[in-house]
Symmetry: D5
Subunit: 112 residues, 10 copies
């Protein structure tokens, strides 16, 4: 898995909100082998470290040919990003394009 | 009625939100025999089980030639999905296309 | 005035929300005699009875040639619908098209 | 029927285009007695006379309680306006709100 | 198949354009047995006869449980409507909701 | 300044919300002499008196050639309307078109 | 009337299109004394001279308290701008906000 | 490369237009190795054969990990589809998401 | 750095909300030297002083050729504006255009 | 000025259309010294050479601190790009954000 890099929070004395929206996320359905597409949104309040944007892009690209379910991918991204930057709080949302006429959204937060 | 299948919640230790939106719902008005059309949205927090997407699609398709009122269909879907997956909480919304120049929305939640 | 009909709430054991939106409402300004146009939205939680949709359409049509002010029409609709179905709660909103370059919205709720 | 008034074209030496859009048109279906709603658009090049706007509004209001089919109303408006102002050319379009899940548009032009 | 009814063109002396848009069309894929959904648009210039709107609605509803491909359904509707009303010209368009991440549109005209 | 007229609240026994939106507001910048443009929104709960719509239009028009800053105009309108109708509560918002590439919004409420 | 200034066309050897859109136009109805509002669009191919933007703004502002009809104002602007810059061709369009529920557009071109 | 399958044109006697829009196209930039994303639109008039939709989806998916430039991918798709179904005419358009703040569209047609 | 000017709050006795939106913000990425683009929104409740709009524009323009990260620029603007006008409360938001397919938003508030 | 690089047209035997849209263009007004902002669209049919996308981005960035009028910048970009890649035909459009309440668009084509 690609390494998520961080940099020092330039304003650690203030709680402020950072949001990154990645509309070009794609992975593979582990059941059908078909590609899935969606938008991943990460919103967090940093503690000591902020997520470096280019490494976040490479981290998302690492899912390109990996089989993972909707419910799983959002929780895994949350786990990985929390482990990488130790935020005060973080929410990850995945909005996926329609399959069988149904489109799905999954949202997970830390702390729960 | 089609069987709703489930799979094990891959992250049962965390409360997170799953939403499925089905814009191709259709049933039949029991009074006039005319088809009704609408969008059904299911939003829930899973406990042990998640709803399997393909069986959800087939469950919705089973309403295609069935006579049922707006107020009834939303409550029935909620009852069936709660029975199938035993969620921590769930909300079902049906937004129906205009009839007689009036368009209607019905929303029901579990627990009440 | 047209009679508002009701039918038995099919799920009286659960509080759920019903919304009807009527974008083809028209009445007459009692001051100028000019027609007014607007969208009436009714949102309520039923107790024992639900509002029947066709009778609601006819009830709205009965305002077609009747003179009534914006502030009055919304409150009257609320009074009539509350009297007809005895809901747990109800909100009526009227959004009217511009007159003299100003467009107006009136919203009333029961209980106050 | 309300009288359509005109005023002298202030720039008769130049062919230019005038368009009036009336989104608050309503008439009655002669078959069902139910109200119809739509937007009427009039686009024309004046010869000697322009259509006076307030009389056009009153002319449209005169359809409020009159039974007339979609195909008929657009052609009648075209006939009446051509008779009133003798334009070089004119197109009338009626876009009507859905009935039975189908919405209709009718467009007629002079000269044919 | 439902019978398409017509009525006498009220303004046969003038070529004018009639368009009906039906966003609630549904049929069944003959290959997979899954329902298809789409919007059918009919635009025509009548000769002696106009298409009656309620019979058009019932005609579209007759496809509800019938297996037919996208390319076929649009051409069949065109054939049936041309046969029913003998128009001067007609175009039928079907815009279908996504299947496998691809959405399709088919357009056919008479005369070719 | 134009006089704001009022009429008796037709439903004084119920707290309900009235909103008037005026997108054609214009005044003059006291510093540059250039015209300013914006949308004024008034939302209030009436006590004994409601604001008469035509006098509100004329009151807004009285700002047409008057020099006043954004921050000032919204507060003055609030003061004048509160004085005229003695509402239970009122909020006035002014949304102004861009100047120097920046667009501004000012919102003031009574009671503070 | 404000003076329209011009500057030398920097690329006179090539026919290219310049469009200016002014959404803050306002004048006064000569019949009712009420303000009118609209968007004026000027599109032209310059010959030797281009219209200077600030003087165009001041020219439009000069209509602020002047009584003029829709049909007249668009033709006058066209006449004034053609006189000022002698373009190869020019089109002026005025789109006005609704009066009496009807909104109007007037378009004039040079040469006719 | 995935095989594009075809089926017999069900209405070969009439020229009609088929359009398929695939918003989930992705390939890889041959220069940077970074993924590209875009929407591919195919519009054609069939001769004897129509493109089968599922094989078209698989054909597009075969570009997922292949390095190809924007200008090249659109022309290649056109070549492959023309070879597969021998259409009377066909246009392929690729609209790609921004890279370096610039978004690009390429359109190619057969016959040229 | 450009000086932020202020003027006396014309209604210091009332807490009201002022919002300025600047969609033409640009700075330079300190890592790549490439320009960044975004929209800065400032929302505050003034105490004794309001921010003068023209000096705010010049202050934003001073970032044009300055290297600064997303997370830093929003916090610096907040610090500078709080220092300049001593507001009761203020929120600054920066919404930046996509880089590497990801678009970012940063929001900071005073007091924290 | 930055050098525009090209690459060999991969399909020189076919005329096809390439469009690049750059919404992050900025330059400086030579009269006021204030920054201008806009979207530049380049649409062309290549002959032997295509414009390389990264060098196009750098070419646009070279205008960042350069004083140039709207009418001039669009024609200069057209001249430079025609000189660099010798296209069969090309159109350049600049759409600029409002100044003094007026927004402007300039479009130039080669060959004229």
């Amino acid at each position: 898995m690609a390494q998520i890099e961080t940099f020092d929070n330039p304003h650690p004395g203030r709680d402020y909100v950072i949001r990154h929206v990645a509309p070009e996320f794609t992975s593979v359905c582990p059941k059908t082998g078909q590609p899935d597409y969606g938008t991943i949104t990460v919103e967090y309040v940093a503690a000591a470290a902020c997520i470096e944007l280019k490494s976040l892009k490479l981290y998302f690209q690492a899912y390109r040919n990996r089989g993972v379910f909707y419910e799983d991918v959002v929780n895994r991204i949350l786990d990985d990003l929390v482990a990488a930057c130790g935020p005060k709080r973080m929410t990850v949302t995945g909005e996926f394009t329609p399959r069988g006429g149904i489109h799905s959204t999954v949202t997970a937060s830390y702390p729960a």
